[in-house]
C-alpha cells in the first residue's frame, strides 16, 4: 500500500529531477566534436579562468552579506512576534506575508522608481533639505533588493521555532538567577538554532542564484553566477559550459547544506527542512 502511493511521486521525481540532472551532468562532462560527444573536463577548466572566479566570488560575497543582514534584522522581529506580550502578532505576520502575494518582479521594479535619481527617495530627501543619494545601480542596491525580497524567509522559520520553545524553560532560567542577557545567550539562542539554520539556508540559496535583482537594481554591471548561466543557455548556446557552472553551483549548495546540517545535528532538533 505504502509503495503504491509512493509510485506517482517516484515517477515524478525521475522525470523532473533525476533525468534533467543526468542531462546536466552529461553536458557538463562532455564536449561536442565532429565525431560526436567526447568525455572531457574542458568546461570545468574554463571556469577557473580568473574572470569567472571573480564572478563567483562576487556572487558569494553579496549572498553572504545579504544573509547576514537578513539575520541581524530578522531575528529581533521574530523574537518580538513570538513574545507572549505581543498582541498584534497577526497583523505583523500579515504585513510580512502580504507583499509576497505580489509578483516578485513587480516588487523589484518598484525599487527602481524609489531609488532612481529623480525617484521617490530623493524627492523625500530634498523635502527634508538633505543631500540626495545615488545608490541605484550599485552593490548597495543589489543587497537592498535581496534583503527586501528574502527577509520573510529568515523571519518566518525563526519565528516558528521560537514559538515552540517551552516557556517553562525560560521561567526556570529566570528563577535560577539568570539575567535577561544570560537567558537569551544560554537558553533562547541555542534553542532557536534550527530556525536560524533554515532561515540562513532559505535566504542564502536564492541570493546566490538570483539574476534578476542584480540585473535590475545593479544595472547589469555586476554579473552574478545566475546571469552567467542564463547567458550560456540563451545567448551563447554553450550548454556544456552552462551545465558545468550549474554543477559547480550544486556543489556549493550541497557544501553549504552540509555545513548547516552539521549545526543541526549538534542540536538534535528538527528544522523546517
Amino acid at each position: 500500500m505504502k509503495k503504491a502511493t509512493f509510485l506517482p511521486y517516484l515517477i515524478w521525481m525521475i522525470m523532473f529531477i533525476v533525468i534533467p540532472l543526468i542531462l546536466v551532468l552529461f553536458y557538463a562532462f562532455t564536449v561536442s566534436t565532429p565525431e560526436g560527444y567526447k568525455l572531457s573536463l574542458d568546461n570545468f577548466k574554463r571556469f577557473f579562468e580568473p574572470v569567472y572566479l571573480k564572478v563567483i566570488l562576487r556572487s558569494l560575497g553579496l549572498a553572504l552579506v545579504s544573509t547576514l543582514i537578513c539575520l541581524v534584522l530578522g531575528y529581533p522581529v521574530a523574537m518580538i512576534m513570538a513574545g507572549n506580550t505581543f498582541s498584534r502578532r497577526d497583523v505583523l505576520m500579515l504585513l510580512f506575508v502580504v507583499p509576497m502575494w505580489m509578483n516578485f518582479l513587480l516588487r523589484t521594479y518598484a525599487w527602481l522608481a524609489i531609488l532612481e535619481r529623480n525617484g521617490i527617495l530623493n524627492i523625500a530627501l530634498s523635502w527634508l533639505k538633505l543631500p540626495s543619494v545615488n545608490i541605484l545601480y550599485t552593490n548597495a542596491a543589489v543587497v537592498l533588493g535581496m534583503v527586501y525580497n528574502f527577509l520573510p524567509f529568515m523571519v518566518l522559520p525563526i519565528y516558528s521555532v521560537l514559538r515552540k520553545i517551552d516557556k517553562g524553560v525560560i521561567e526556570a532560567a529566570h528563577d535560577l538567577g539568570a539575567n535577561p542577557v544570560g537567558v537569551f545567550t544560554k537558553v533562547i539562542l541555542p534553542l532557536s538554532v534550527p530556525g536560524i539554520v533554515s532561515g540562513v539556508t532559505m535566504v542564502f540559496m536564492p541570493a546566490l542564484t538570483t539574476f534578476i535583482i542584480s540585473r535590475l537594481l545593479g544595472g547589469g554591471q555586476f554579473t552574478l553566477i545566475g546571469n552567467l548561466i542564463e547567458q550560456q543557455f540563451l545567448v551563447v548556446g554553450d550548454w556544456g559550459f552552462g551545465s558545468a557552472i550549474s554543477v559547480i553551483m550544486i556543489v556549493f549548495i550541497l557544501l553549504s547544506m552540509g555545513i548547516m546540517s552539521f549545526f543541526e545535528d549538534a542540536d538534535k532538533e528538527k528544522t523546517l527542512w
Partner: protein, 317 residues
Amino acid sequence: MYVYNWGDYIDESILKDFEEEYGIRVVYDTYATNEDMYVKIKSGGSTYDVIFPSDYMLTRMREEGMLEKLDLEKIPNSKYIDPRFLGADYDPNNEYSLPYMWGTLGILYNTNLVDDPVDSWDILWNPKYAKQILMLDSQRDSIGVALLKLGYSINTLNPDELVAAGEILKEQKPLVLAYVVDEGKDKMVSGEAALAVVWSGDAAYAIEENPDLAYTFPRTGTNLWFDVVAIPKGAKNIDAAHKFIDFLNRPDIAFRNVDHIGYATPHLAAKDQLPKEITDDPDFYPTDEDLVNAEVFVNLGATLKEYDRIWTEVKAH
C-alpha cells in the same frame, strides 16, 4: 493559427480583423528576445505558424533547417515591399522570409543635457557625461558599438580586434550608469540619463513620450537590422500562415500596423501614407547614402563564445 511575435509589435486589432475576414482563429503569444523564441521553437514543445525573428536569428534558424519555405505566389501583396530590402545576406533569395520592420542602432540623447554634437560613437566615452550613459545589456550590440568606435566591423572574427573592443568597454565602464535593455527607453523618458544606445524603433517611442529627446546614428558605421516574418518547420497551418503574411502586407493593414507601432516599414505603400516629416527624416528612414557604412549582423557561429567571454570580462571588471 498560432502567431509568435515580440511584445508590443503589432496593432492587435489587426488580428481580430483577420479572424473576421478569413474565419481563422488566431492565438497570439509574445516573446522578449530572439533567444527566448529560438529556444522555444528548438525544443519543439510548441508549434507556431508565424514567427518574427531578427536577421541573424533567421540565418541561424535557416542553417539549422528550422524554417518552411515561403510560397511567394500565395503572398501577392509582397510586391509592395521595397526591393531595396529584398535579397539581403541573411536570406539571399527571400526563400524563407519577408522583411517586417527595419531600423538602425544609434544614440538617443536628451537635448537639455547634451550640448556637444552627437555624430560619432566617441561621445559615449566622453567623461563629461559620466554616470549619464546607458549602454545595452546585449553582448553583440555593446561590443558592436566598441568595434565601430575603433573602426572595425561589427561581425569581426579577429580576436585582437575583439580584445581591443573589450579594453575600451572596460575603460568606459566607470562612465556608464547602467547596462539595460527594455528599461532604457523609460529611463530616458524620465530624464534619468543623458545618452543611451538604443534601436531606432525604441527611440521613436521615447521621443513621442518626451519631446526633449532626439535620435541619430553615426554615419561612420552602425548596425542595420531587420525583423522578418517567417514560418517555422512543424507549423500545422501553413496555408493560413501565408494568408496572414499576405494580410499583413495589404496596404491598408500595413499602414495601420506601422502607424501603431512606430518602427520603420519596408512596405512602400504603407510608407507613402505616413506623414512626410517622418519618412523624410534620415535618422528614421535613412537613404542608401546614410547607410554606406552600416552592416547587418551575421551569425558568428563558434566565435560567439569569444564575444561572450569578452563581455563577461567587461561586466566582471
